[in-house]
Every structure is written in structure tokens, then in C-alpha cells.
């Protein structure tokens, strides 16, 4: 996408520049009604729309703050109507320079070009004499150049604080425990497989149990209990003991009931 910057000269004369590799290139001239077609927030102000002045360094015995306006004596603008760039010290000329403009004028331009946000004075290339500034093609341009902004910096800070707070909240959200938003709880998962079951199947096949009244697999005690309708025969008891020698379990035979105690992890 092309980077575009509009240079506002007069209401009928607006220059459209594209920025290629940090240099301006004049595309065409339009009138201000056509400006709405260009979605750019950067506007250059021709020299008639701002004022620059300088003050010898020895005239000041303090360092001006960013918002301080040094030329209230020279300016005809009311202080409410004034937007100024921070004063800059020129080492070579040993003077303080400052540029200012009328807020009303900038608002009027913004009305013509609603997307306008940054108003750059067109004197950013100090090497270019004012009378030669008819066409700024080939002049270097950077977004970092100082610009007038109608939006109050306090508003900008509030906006930034709101956005950053929202982003910080979003960044923290995944780290909150699950039960912060919902009533979740962590439940341990249990391995409930009854490994003793397969050992009993082998025994049941060999001992030929019949008339089973109840068969219990106890995972906590690692036992298998069986109750028959009739007492165990001697043959069945022999089979059970024989099986337990192989399977390494202890049988407790009592009339119609037998309990096999398996060692842990049979």
C-alpha cells in the first residue's frame, strides 16, 4: 500500500505526495474537496499556515519545557487557539527555534480531511529555502518529524492506558486458575482396572465352581471372595490350594466361602 501525505497549500491547491524509501514524490495536485478520497492521517502545512521564529540563546536564562511557548509577544493568536511544537535549540545558530499554528485553522483543515491527525510544518528540510518549496519531490520525510496534533496528549495517554490495561488483562487471563471464572475442581483420576479378575477366571476354569451365590472382587484388599450354594468338595479344595501355590495367593476356605488373598500386583 502506498504511503501518502497531503500538502495543504490553499483550499484549492492540495498536493498529493507518495513516500518512497523515505523521500517525497509529487503525484498530483487536487482541490480540498477531493481530499476525502485519500485515507491518510499525515498532512503537510504550507508555510502560510504556521509560524516559525527564533530567539537568541542568551535571551533565555532557562531551559523551556516541552509545552512552553516562547513567543507570546510575537504571536497574534490567543493562547487557547495556539498549538506549538516544543522549542528546539540550534547549536550552530545558538538560538531557540519554535513553530506554532492556529488550532482553529487546523480544525478547519481536519474538517476537509477527516482522517488528518498529524500536521507537519513543511520546513522539516531546513536546507531547502522557502522560496524553493513549490514542490517537495525528492525531499526526505520521516514520520518522526515533529508534528502538530490536535488530540490532547492526556487523551492519548488515557487511550494508551486503556489499551494496555486491556492487553495486560488478556495476557494474565490464561494464567488464572480454571476455577477463577467457573466452579471447576481438579479430581484425581483413578486406575480402577481389576487385574485380579483374570486370575480368578483361570481358577474358575480349573476348579469347576458351580452354584456360585456371590463373587466379590475387592480391589482395596486385593482379594477375591466366592460363596457357593453348597460346601466345597475335597476335590475343589485341592484345586484351590494347587492353584494358589502357582498364583502365589493365600486361600481361606470356610464351608461355602473362599477368600483368595493376592499379593500386591499379582
Amino acid at each position: 500500500m502506498k504511503k501518502i501525505i497531503l500538502r495543504f497549500i490553499t483550499i484549492d491547491n492540495v498536493e498529493v505526495y507518495t513516500i518512497k524509501r523515505g523521500k517525497l514524490s509529487l503525484e498530483k495536485r487536487i482541490n480540498s474537496k477531493e481530499c476525502v478520497k485519500f485515507k491518510t492521517n499525515k498532512i503537510m502545512l504550507a508555510s502560510s499556515h504556521y509560524v516559525s521564529s527564533s530567539l537568541a540563546s542568551n535571551a533565555l536564562n532557562f531551559r523551556p519545557t516541552k509545552k512552553q511557548f516562547l513567543f507570546s509577544n510575537e504571536s497574534v493568536l490567543q493562547i487557547n487557539d495556539l498549538v506549538c511544537l516544543p522549542a528546539e535549540y540550534d547549536e550552530t545558530l545558538k538560538e531557540w527555534q519554535q513553530t506554532w499554528a492556529s488550532r482553529t485553522l487546523l480544525l478547519r483543515i481536519k474538517k476537509l480531511i477527516p482522517s488528518a491527525q498529524y500536521f507537519y510544518p513543511d520546513n522539516f528540510d531546513a536546507s531547502l529555502p522557502e522560496h524553493k518549496r513549490t514542490d517537495l519531490s525528492g525531499t526526505k520525510f520521516s514520520n518522526n518529524y515533529k508534528s502538530f496534533q490536535l488530540e490532547e496528549s492526556d487523551d492519548k495517554n488515557t487511550k494508551f492506558l486503556l489499551v494496555s490495561s486491556a492487553v495486560v488483562c488478556l495476557a494474565i487471563a490464561p494464567w488464572l486458575p480454571n476455577n477463577f471464572f467457573r466452579d471447576y475442581r481438579e479430581v484425581p483420576k483413578y486406575e480402577n482396572k481389576l487385574s485380579i479378575m483374570k486370575y480368578f477366571e483361570e481358577l474358575a476354569a480349573s476348579a469347576k465352581f458351580s452354584g456360585l451365590t456371590k463373587l466379590t472382587f475387592n480391589k482395596s484388599l486385593n482379594t477375591v471372595g466366592a460363596i457357593l450354594t453348597s460346601s466345597f468338595t475335597e476335590e475343589q479344595k485341592r484345586e484351590i490350594r494347587k492353584y494358589c501355590e502357582v498364583a502365589n495367593c493365600i486361600p481361606e476356605i470356610n464351608e461355602q466361602q473362599v477368600v483368595f488373598k493376592f499379593k500386591r500386583g499379582p
Binding site: 490464561p174 480454571n178 463373587l215 480391589k219 482395596s220
Partner: protein, 117 residues
């Protein structure tokens, strides 16, 4: 760097880090369960177990220590299926399973006991 870009990078970093940490620390022995799904009464336990076993269940004891229930009148194949399902229920610790003939011919009752804590 643009300050907005910085804070969005913070968000991206946080999400990436969370994903990595979750991936590395995924613990198969812990299940996160909506506690609303866990039963708190005998009636809720019966509903919960009926859903798991796909059969009517009669809860005979449900307290803070033990959960005992019976699934009655099952054919042999169904009884084996319920025993299998009882072993697959992971949110309670298995205590015991008993199988006994039912009052009906060729049918069985399955009695299951879990520890609830």
C-alpha cells in the same frame, strides 16, 4: 518500537508461554471436572451413574466416604459390560465389585463400591 506493538507482543508472549507451560506440564493423572457435573446427593449420583452405565442404578449409600450402588437384573453379557464400565469410571477409587444371581432366572445383580475421597 511502537508502544502499542510492545504491549501486543507482551500478549503474544504470554499466550505462547501459557501454551508451552500447559503442554509441558500436562498431567494425565488429574482430571479437571466441572464440579456441577459431580453428584452431591443420592439422586444426583443415580443420574450420574445411570448416564455412565447406560442403565438404571440404585444407590444404596452415598456419603463423603463411600458410594455403593446396585445394577439389577442384567443378562450375563450386560453384567460383564457393566463390570467393564465400572472399571472405566475414573473419578472415584474402586473398592469392590460383586456379582450375584438375580431373583430372575439367568440374570445377575452387580454391586459396586467406590471410595468417594
Amino acid at each position: 518500537m511502537n508502544k502499542y506493538l510492545r504491549i501486543f507482543l507482551l500478549l503474544l508472549f504470554s499466550l505462547t508461554a501459557k501454551f508451552v507451560v500447559s503442554y509441558l506440564s500436562s498431567d494425565q493423572s488429574v482430571a479437571t471436572i466441572d464440579s456441577k457435573q459431580m453428584p452431591n446427593s443420592t439422586a444426583e449420583a443415580e443420574t450420574f451413574l445411570a448416564k455412565h452405565f447406560d442403565h438404571n442404578v440404585l444407590v444404596t449409600q452415598f456419603d463423603e466416604r463411600i458410594l455403593t450402588f446396585t445394577i439389577s437384573s442384567l443378562k450375563e453379557i450386560d453384567a460383564l459390560d457393566k463390570i467393564e464400565k465400572a472399571q472405566n469410571l475414573e473419578v472415584y477409587r474402586m473398592h469392590s465389585i460383586s456379582i450375584a444371581p438375580s431373583n430372575q432366572v439367568n440374570k445377575f445383580d452387580v454391586f459396586v463400591t467406590y471410595a468417594t475421597r
